[in-house]
């Protein structure tokens, strides 16, 4: 069993973190973790990129401190065309990201919980371009159960 410290070494050694090495694509959830920043007033901001030939969102796990609105910058540095399908209340947001392009998305998400996003073209989703937006926090106080605090995992 690998330790956390060994994870990156093992991913590299086995070839799980790149296209057409151990598997055909890049195994999901082998990318980076990043956190959104927050402006006064609660609006959150983040940038997600696709780096050349890495077939992975960077970060592939984006962490939001709470639910609400997120201004997202999307940059495709890759030499191939991708796109993004993103979760948002009301409708999912879609954007084409041709080679070396930069776009924007405004998302509204509830918290807590996590959501997926992807590049729904070809088999980008299976080859590595599926990522996660994690929303931290708790539901509003008025939505909690009227009972004594209960144990959590």
């Amino acid at each position: 069993m690998a330790t956390v410290q060994e994870r990156e070494i093992l991913l590299e050694k086995i070839g799980l973190g790149a296209q057409n090495k151990a598997a055909l694509g890049r195994v999901l959830n082998t990318g980076n973790i990043g956190q959104a920043t927050e402006r006064a007033g609660g609006l959150m901001q983040a940038t997600i990129r696709i780096r050349p030939d890495e077939i992975c969102w960077d970060p592939s796990i984006l962490v939001l401190p709470h639910g609400g609105d997120l201004e997202l910058e999307l940059i495709n540095d890759d030499l191939n065309t991708h796109c993004a399908l993103l979760p948002s209340n009301g409708d999912r947001k879609f954007i084409w990201l041709v080679n070396h392009s930069r776009g924007r998305a405004t998302l509204n998400l509830d918290g807590p919980g996590y959501y997926w996003f992807s590049s729904p073209t070809g088999n980008d989703e299976g080859r590595g371009l599926t990522g996660t937006i994690v929303v931290l926090g708790d539901v509003p106080p008025e939505a909690r159960l009227d009972r004594p605090d209960q144990p959590r995992p």
Binding site: I95, Y114, R147
Partner: protein
């Protein structure tokens, strides 16, 4: 390379803009604008519409429409199909199910799917007018699949709940969000699947999460503003009426369950909502919650203005078989009495006086009942139950019940109830576990029988006498619809959609829909043509009600049937 080199990809757009809509076609006519409480009260006087979850407040799932009848039903066929499809990754990707009851108002259909979808469709053509998609967390706690049972409509709005326990109002013409309230704590394992009920100026919803040790509740929100009006907890706190049915020490009550995860019925004369409550938690380990555990597995009558329980009737005291009493309470009159009929998961058909909860009759409606017995005077005697750690116990009906959540119907024309029956057993082995928020809190390992699982559609009179039975090789796991054409419609797990003669049970028509049925068909008419609408999409808690069909394909289609145009 500098920023100047980047191609400007612009701003991400709503995915629905890439769905072939014609400009201007994404706005529905304001058919819901004048849909008031008074109109919903008289819903059956508008047979062309299906205005509320059960078709009317009485829960009968009966339409007077009779263009399609016993003589011509053999000629109906698909008029149109709406393929909702699925894309990307969703919560419960392997267990989602299409469970809704389509609502229709003056030619416009309002329909919910799984994973936060709501659509407005042209009810004559199936053309999508608008769609709303709520973002549902991939990791939300769901006992039984990513499902939703439908929407409510009134005063220009469409109301629905989301799997992450929000109650949302949409503009019925555009599908845009008007208000959004959080009604549950997803960190505690709460969720929501119920179709809301609009009564007066209230949107009424129940909570889900009974398998996670939550405390069930029913809530009301103002139709216009979304302001919270009242909350009715279904498990009393210490000192409240019914609290003596829980252990005096400890916090079993706080994790007690009793969720109202199905839509209630309503009688304007009694001013009472009739709501079924769910199982106690942990489902199968009764030793940690000695007592009757009110108001779990109960029919509760709730004053709609005050949000307070006026009377209750508990169908399975101290349940250790997962016998939620969430099933609909069908309101009807007999011999001048105001009654309600309720087919419970425990296998018994309860008829109560709905003015006071007095028992009128109790009759078994499934062949195999081994968990215990209930006498006609209401005495409950448990016989087999998982009370010893690690010892398997087999019982009938299994935890999905002799009838699951899917609904019975009642025809005032034939004065018969029509009930989809699941005659399936299960084995539970008690395994105690420590309670922790958001982790399943069953207290047992459970395996539902694959062999000897059968079903039927049965017709009962109000005395509990079975008048006919149509037998099936598989349990019947979809809601039944009764019509003025003396027809009863019921879908099968294997995909067939059936029409029966309401008076004899003769199978008159059948269509293979390509996926199993686990929804609530409705009927309506547009321009004088009657339609039968059935969402088709197998899934949900199939391991509970029919594990022998766990490998069946998932569908996601709404299929709408009608007579050929020249016949109607």
């Amino acid at each position: 390379m500098t920023d100047v080199d980047y191609v400007d990809a612009g701003e991400a757009i709503d995915q629905s803009r890439l769905s072939g809509k014609i400009a201007g076609g994404e706005v529905a006519p304001p058919v819901v604008q004048n849909l008031t409480y008074e109109r919903i009260l008289e819903a059956r006087s508008e047979p062309e519409n299906w205005l509320t979850y059960y078709g009317a407040y009485d829960g009968q799932r009966y339409s007077p429409l009779d263009q399609i009848n016993t003589e011509n039903v053999k000629r109906i066929g698909p008029a149109w199909v709406f393929q909702a499809g699925t894309s990307g990754i969703i919560a419960g990707a392997s267990t989602y199910s299409f469970e809704a009851a389509p609502i229709v108002v003056d030619g416009i259909m309002f329909l919910s799917g799984w994973d936060g979808w709501v659509w407005a469709l042209d009810a004559k053509t199936g053309t999508e007018i608008w769609r709303y998609k709520h973002a549902i967390p991939f990791d939300v706690s769901l006992c039984c699949g990513n499902v939703n049972r439908g929407v409510a409509v009134a005063k220009g709005k469409v109301f629905f709940v989301t799997a992450n326990a929000h109650v949302i109002a949409l503009d019925a013409t555009t599908g845009k969000r008007v208000w959004d309230r959080t009604n549950g704590d997803v960190r505690a394992g709460e969720s929501a699947t119920v179709a809301p009920l609009v009564v007066k100026n209230l949107v009424i919803v129940g909570s889900a999460g009974g398998e996670f040790g939550v405390r069930g509740h029913l809530d009301a929100f103002d139709v216009d503003s979304g302001e919270h009006q009242w909350r009715c907890y279904t498990v009393p706190k210490p000192g409240e009426p019914g609290s003596q049915t829980w252990p005096a020490d400890g916090e079993a009550w706080a994790r007690g369950g009793a969720n109202c995860w199905l839509t209630g019925t309503f009688d304007p004369e009694t001013n009472l909502l009739y709501v079924g409550t769910g199982n106690p938690a942990p489902d199968f380990d009764g030793a940690v919650r000695e007592g009757d555990n009110l108001h779990t597995d109960s029919i509760i009558a709730v004053d709609v203005d005050a949000g307070q329980i006026r009377w209750h009737y508990q169908c399975t005291p101290h349940d250790v078989w997962d016998y939620d009493s969430i099933a609909e309470c069908i309101l009807f009159e007999k011999d001048g009495r105001k009654l309600l009929g309720h087919f419970d998961k425990n296998g018994y058909f309860f008829v109560l006086d709905r003015t006071n909860g007095e028992r009128v009759s109790i009759t078994p409606f499934v062949d195999r009942i081994t968990w215990g017995a209930i006498t006609r005077d209401g005495q409950v005697t448990p016989k087999v139950y998982p009370d010893e750690e690690g010892v398997p116990v087999h019982f009938y009906p299994g935890p999905a019940g002799a009838k699951e959540w899917t609904h019975a119907a009642y025809s005032p024309k034939t004065e018969l109830f029509y009930v989809p029956v699941q005659d399936v057993g299960a084995t539970a082995t008690r395994r105690r576990r420590e309670f922790k928020e958001s982790i399943p809190y069953w207290g047992a390992g459970v395996q539902v029988d694959i062999e000897e699982a059968v079903g039927y559609v049965s017709a009962f009179d109000a005395n509990g006498e079975e008048k006919w039975r149509w037998r099936n090789e598989l349990p019947m796991c979809a809601s039944v619809l009764a019509t003025g054409g003396d027809l009863v419609f019921a879908g099968e797990p294997s995909g067939e959609f059936n029409a029966f003669d309401a008076r004899t049970g003769e199978l008159l028509w059948q269509f293979q829909c390509g996926s199993g049925h686990h929804s609530s068909p409705t009927t309506y008419s547009v321009d004088g043509r009657q339609y039968i609408a059935v969402p088709v999409g197998w899934g949900g808690w199939a391991e509970g009600f029919l594990p022998g069909m766990l490998g069946a394909g998932h569908g996601s289609a709404l299929i709408v049937f009608a007579l050929p145009g020249s016949d109607s």
